[in-house]
Amino acid sequence: MAVETVAATVPRHAAAQRLREKLFRGATFVAAILVLTLLGAIAVSLFIGAYPALARFRFGFLTQEIWNPVTEKFGALAAVYGTLVTSFIAMALAVPISFGIAVFLTELAPVWLRRPVGVAIELLAAVPSIIFGIWGLFVLAPVLQHTVQPWLIDTLGPLPVIGSLFQGPPYGIGVLTAGVVLAIMVIPFISAVMRDVFETVPDVLKESGYGLCATTWEVIWKVVVPHSRTGMVGGIMLGLGRALGETMAVTFVIGNAHRISRSLLAPGTTISASIANEFTEAVGKLYTSSLVALGALLFLITFAVIAAARFMLLRMERRALSSV
């Protein structure tokens, strides 16, 4: 009797275990596939939403500066231009500063100082973007308006060629201010990646530099930087991806004008700022669809940049693994 029970329950128990194994494995697999399909779903839904506008304006959507809700004529050029220029300003300011922070944290700072300073910089990344927005509008913009911008207009304004970038009255808000706020936002991301990449440089390489009487700076510039070039570019592209898609901080300080001005001090707009500002107020199918089309465009641009960044960081990781 007892023997029978054991013989009967063990296979039953095993079958139940196998079933649970199948179920659990299946659940994790479905969840993983869901992540995969999510990206596809985002792309498809954006392009379906953008279709009416794209069918109406075709390539003109990319080349027209006009953005007129009244006559229902929409072109993305001003928004794309603003997105690219603000991101470019942000990178021009953020890359050198992030590089400096990464150098400080890996080579210069005493060991006891590294962690607190590193954490403080990382906390800057945790501050929500809307906070950067109101800080930019109420604190940074007036400061730029009263000090930096008049100085730029007076000193750089009269110069040929680049002078045209610094014309007009100092509004405070505008393309330049948006670029500065974006720079502050991406500094923690770029410096965190650069720090991690610098730490993967083998000590032997650095020590051989010091063995040849190189200064700290020479070791950084001629040993550490060449060794981590791919990873650095990956980190910069990751920051660029963030700057291109950043919404709330830019919306507060860019001025929201759908036009292309030569001057960096003039108000402009970006793709994300246009969407954030106008989407809930957009009346009519074509207006909404044009905004979604802007979103699809932003999706394409950031996807390309982020994908390139991830590929570079992946290559970097592989090389680090193979050299160990």
């Binding site: 992540v35 995969l36 985002i42 954490v119 700076w217 809930t280």
Partner: protein, 284 residues
């Protein structure tokens, strides 16, 4: 100037610049926090922040409806996003560790991780708001879930990978099935890491504004109806800070202080948990 001196000067110059760069970074953090405290602290005691809903222009009121909405939508977002993310992370770390599919999923997840949040908002608008015909709290929660998902996938995989292979082998050697090993050995061993991941994703989504703008929208009044627009702190800050009314602007600053402090608290707590895990862990 001798070559040696020039090299030395260059060294000092470059390294001082790197110190200056760090100071600049820290100064921005300090400036932002100082502004928040200066403008937001007074409002926390002056207004009935926690007991009354958002006021009409010029009237008096608090942020109760916005705080409630933010908490509810963040919680629902985490409840949807975190379990899926943990399961997917489990697949990547345990079942599909070396599968070619996993490489693709990891890559896609990394792209989702840094995708602009406003794109997520547009996606959920197209999927939910259009088909439901109106803005709703549930749509807002779903958009937050989509943002939390890749964060939990990433942290879950990283944390599970930290569990020593020997522990898993020991469980397998005792005849346990893989699911039993994962739920009874791997998860408990990685618990504080998983909690850290959860905290980080809560911190990430609780300040998100862009995806809520056209999913949850906003609500001037207290509402607990998930099928209707719901007030939330970020959007209230957005609209009130840009308004010309002084009491609204002050409320926006108080809300900003509140939200930043809670997020910084969560981030520091997560870091504390991580360092309790042991040195070196948690680094990518």
């Amino acid at each position: 100037m001798s070559r040696r001196l020039r090299r030395k000067l260059m060294n000092v110059f470059a390294l001082s610049l790197s110190g200056v760069a760090t100071l600049i970074g820290l100064a921005f953090l300090a400036a932002i926090l100082w502004t928040l405290f200066k403008n937001g602290l007074a409002g926390l005691t002056k207004f009935p922040i926690f007991s009354q809903s958002t006021p009409p222009p010029g009237g008096s009121g608090g942020l109760l409806n916005a705080i409630y909405g933010s908490v509810v939508m963040t919680l629902i977002g985490i409840l949807i996003g975190a379990p899926i993310g943990m399961l997917a992370g489990t697949y990547l770390a345990e079942y599909g560790r070396t599968a070619r599919l996993s490489i693709v999923i990891r890559f896609v997840n990394d792209v989702l991780l840094s995708a602009p949040s406003i794109i997520i908002g547009l996606f959920v608008y197209e999927m939910l708001v259009v088909s439901m015909g109106h803005f709703s709290a549930i749509a807002g929660a779903v958009s937050l879930a989509v943002i939390a998902l890749p964060v939990t996938v990433r942290t879950t995989e990283d944390m599970l990978n930290l569990v020593p292979q020997g522990m898993k082998d020991a469980s397998t050697a005792m005849g346990a099935y893989h699911w039993r090993t994962i739920t009874s050995v791997v998860y408990p061993a990685a618990r504080s890491g998983l909690v850290t991941g959860l905290l980080l994703s809560i911190a990430r989504i609780s300040g998100e504004t862009a995806p809520l703008l056209f999913t949850a929208l906003n609500n001037q009044f207290f509402s607990s109806n998930l099928n209707a627009p719901m007030a939330n702190l970020p959007v209230v800050i957005f609209t009130y800070a840009q308004s010309p009314y002084e009491n609204w602007q002050q409320l926006a600053w108080s809300g900003a202080l509140l939200i930043t402090l809670s997020i910084l608290f969560l981030s520091i707590l997560a870091r504390f948990l991580l360092s309790a895990l042991g040195p070196g862990s948690g680094r990518r």
